[in-house]
Symmetry: C2
Subunit: 254 residues, 2 copies
Amino acid sequence: MGNRKPLILVTNDDGYQAKGINSLMEAMKGLGEIIVFAPDTHQSGMSSAISTSLPLRARVYHREEGLTAYMCNGTPVDCVKLALNEFVPRKPDLLVSGINHGSNAGISVIYSGTMGAAIEGCIFEVPSIGFSLCDFSADADFSATASLARRLAARVIGTGLPRGVCLNVNVPAGEIKGVRMTTQTEGKWVNEYQPSQDGLGRDVFWMTGNFENWEADNVDSDEWALANGYAAVVPVKINMTAYDFLPELKKWEI
Amino acid sequence: MGNRKPLILVTNDDGYQAKGINSLMEAMKGLGEIIVFAPDTHQSGMSSAISTSLPLRARVYHREEGLTAYMCNGTPVDCVKLALNEFVPRKPDLLVSGINHGSNAGISVIYSGTMGAAIEGCIFEVPSIGFSLCDFSADADFSATASLARRLAARVIGTGLPRGVCLNVNVPAGEIKGVRMTTQTEGKWVNEYQPSQDGLGRDVFWMTGNFENWEADNVDSDEWALANGYAAVVPVKINMTAYDFLPELKKWEI
């Protein structure tokens, strides 16, 4: 890097107009040069989806000293890939994604576009962090999360993260008692559909649901931290191999 | 189960009309009662994306003795969730996804809609397997993969899989030398965009790219197996926690 300022890539899944990404962008100011590369529409729940048949387009929507902001018609992962392949002047020192409007704790890490973007940064060997606030409202108070994001960002710019590992940070609404480094809570969503009918009387199903926590008493899980007023930081691996099961699997005769 | 036949849920990401899902459906016949629940359009690269704002619709497009086939307007994960929440008569004994037209080895497991569906089955504690053939052509020869799918399906119906683990099976085009139980190859896609222009001369970017293998000599990796004529079976974990890094992370003062 020499004397160059750190380069920070900012993205999200709620789209460039969301309050969350603007809070995150503000929180990064002073830590380095900032490039925002965000979806031009809502891309919640897009996981690590990529657009294989859509021609991607990107354009600058804001520019100021030390900051250039682009919007793009792709998914969160498209945004990260296109930015890193075609738009950044050099490899960023940090990628931050969010601040998401709503939790991405527990199994939701799998569906999250916010974490899809962070995982993609990690694939590019850029230290990457996803931030989510457990408050869905468009006008949520992001100040405590932004403050934590700034402290974590400074730390990760300084020390990096292990190869193949990114961070999933979830923050409870309201006061934060502290920060806990935890595991991904085991559990799943249940009662996921609300049956309804369209205007012509045809059956449709709307996504809804509740998270069923299979380890509510595990003080080392992200859902426990959030339920007890703590921010939860989970280190997330991009290599999904179940190494524990591999020796057993190797015995199978197929 | 008592005397009931095993129940098998079949899905994919290439859509209900793809040759691959029809080969897989045929391969499952005789192993149990079959429910097909597949996207009505191409959903390649959709990862674990979910539709939070789209009203889902499903309808039967084929019925025969022991088999009912639905198409649905959602993503692969929407299909699995909707089938398991609203359409299956009981919890399936097996979910099979594919046979995908194209490889889902290495880091592609992250982007794959085929594996998104298998991972979703796993979240529901249904033993789940994704199958992919390393041949993109619409008219690929799926016979060897279908035969392997049938043997693996019979095995998994009999013995199950550990909780939280599903299988990612990739098969080379042409002759198969054998089956190797392996790890997810470390690496990433590079040169991912082809810059072009639309009809009005505006810049667009089309996804393309090559897989850069960071461990080409690792005989225990899925890409090595495929390059050497073997089918590769990788056990995939849905808990993404980087347990190895957690003790170090717990020392951070934030």
